[in-house]
């Protein structure tokens, strides 16, 4: 028997969204991308037993019950135009697609129930395979997954690792094994490198003044996981009440956006003044591979929540944590993602 190594793992997931939480993506709706982390999206079966029930004459369990299922996972990737578009679309939830090959543009914004939007995020299926077929090691598909959050990290340095994205996702609990999915060919990804960054925060262009050191921005949906189990939400095996409950919906909770950065601090730097005066402005983060592959992320109104002077590699720097705030016209955040792939979250 040959050992299975993690380098063999292949993943594909819904490029197009599922019709609903129960209906899995079909192979033509999926794409294969590579990832950096070895972690698997293991379905987790939650069980209970009858130890606390009276009438048995003792305090020990005599039966165990399958009660519910969880699925969660993390994708760590170099930040490319394709995964950026996917993460913005699925993470924020609302998408307007425009453009044609090779320049599709996905304008993304969060869902706002107060404006009539749903609280359910778009669903996708997630497939993991190691040697599918006769010699299968792993071959399964989690159905009804949503993006719990994403984090984009930009650093200083020459390598690809200075531009990364981490996407967390959670699932309904429904899974199919074997997946029945023929893995599509890997999508060629266009890196959005750190060296392409354009950055303006609160009126300061941190690239033209050559002061930016690192940046991290994130979005978290705080999905209401327990709220997915409601009377009638369904079972792993339809009609089999002993197979464990699955979620019938995945709604976002109180969402959070973050933006923090480290910049060189020098004579004339305004971060501490803006902190004291609580000056508010936009934050626009742009990364590009070329004119057809890019990401522009805009926090429409930020002020500085903290600003601390310190050092990075012996250089005086300021570490700033921004407070993203609601803008009456543009909301909290929006993203314009361009790439050559059609149909993302459609």
């Amino acid at each position: 028997m040959s050992v299975a190594r993690m380098q063999e793992i292949q993943i594909c997931f819904g490029k197009q969204k599922q019709a609903d939480i129960q209906t899995a993506n079909t192979p033509v709706q999926m794409w294969q991308l590579r990832k950096l982390n070895a972690a698997l999206a293991n379905p987790k079966l939650n069980t209970e037993n009858d130890a606390e029930e009276f009438g048995k004459g003792h305090e020990f369990a005599t039966q165990s019950f399958q009660t519910s299922w969880d699925v969660s996972g993390t994708l760590e990737k170099y930040l490319g135009a394709e995964i950026a578009a996917w993460a913005m679309a699925y993470g924020l939830g609302k998408v307007v697609k425009s453009g044609t090959t090779p320049n599709f543009t996905y304008t993304c914004a969060p869902l706002f129930p107060a404006s009539g939007d749903a609280a359910e995020l778009p669903y996708f299926s997630f497939v993991e395979q190691i040697r599918p077929g006769a010699g299968v090691v792993v071959d399964r598909m989690a159905v009804g997954c949503v993006v719990e959050g994403w984090t984009i990290s930009i650093g200083s340095g020459p390598g690809r690792a200075n531009s990364k994205i981490t996407v967390e996702f959670v699932g309904s609990g429904k899974y199919v094994e074997p997946s029945g999915i023929t893995m599509p060919a890997a999508t060629v990804e266009k890196l959005l490198p750190s060296a392409s960054l354009a950055l303006t925060i609160n009126g300061v262009n941190y690239v033209s003044n050559k002061n930016i050191v690192s940046l991290e921005t994130s979005w978290k949906n705080n999905v209401r996981l327990d709220g997915g189990f409601y009377p009638g939400s369904g079972f792993q095996t339809p009609g089999d009440g002993a197979s464990g409950a699955i979620r019938g919906r995945l709604e976002f909770g109180n969402r959070q956006g973050t933006l923090r950065f480290v910049a060189r601090f020098e004579n004339g730097s305004t971060e501490l003044t803006k902190l004291r005066q609580q000056t508010a402005g936009t934050a626009v983060i742009s990364l590009a591979y070329d004119s057809n592959n890019s990401l522009e992320l805009t926090w429409h109104k930020v002020s500085f929540a903290t600003a601390e002077v310190g050092e990075t590699d012996g250089i005086v720097t300021v570490s700033v944590e921004c407070l993203p705030m609601w803008d009456a016209t543009n909301g909290i955040v929006s993203a314009m993602a361009r790439c050559g792939v059609d149909g993302i979250c459609q």
């Binding site: 609302k94 998408v95 307007v96 697609k97 425009s98 453009g99 543009t105 304008t107 914004a109 706002f112 404006s115 009539g116 939007d117 522009e296 805009t298 016209t329 543009n330 909301g331 929006s334 314009m336 459609q346």
Partner: protein
């Protein structure tokens, strides 16, 4: 002029707008969403001629 897309408001109002974020994002925040091909089928009755709903004509 850039490409145009069709959005629909929560009240069902259709608007054709330029696909630029400064135009799209404020509308998206107000509940507008893009009309998809599937939606096109659904809204078709709203733009038909008044007599197009006559079942005799549809038969």
């Amino acid at each position: 002029m850039s490409e145009q897309v069709v959005l629909i408001s929560p009240d069902g109002e259709l608007r054709r707008v330029e696909a630029r974020p400064e135009i799209l994002v404020p509308l998206m925040v107000r509940g507008y969403r893009q009309v998809t091909e599937h939606d096109d089928e659904e809204v078709t009755p709203d733009v038909r001629r008044a007599d197009a709903g006559n079942p005799d004509l549809l038969r």
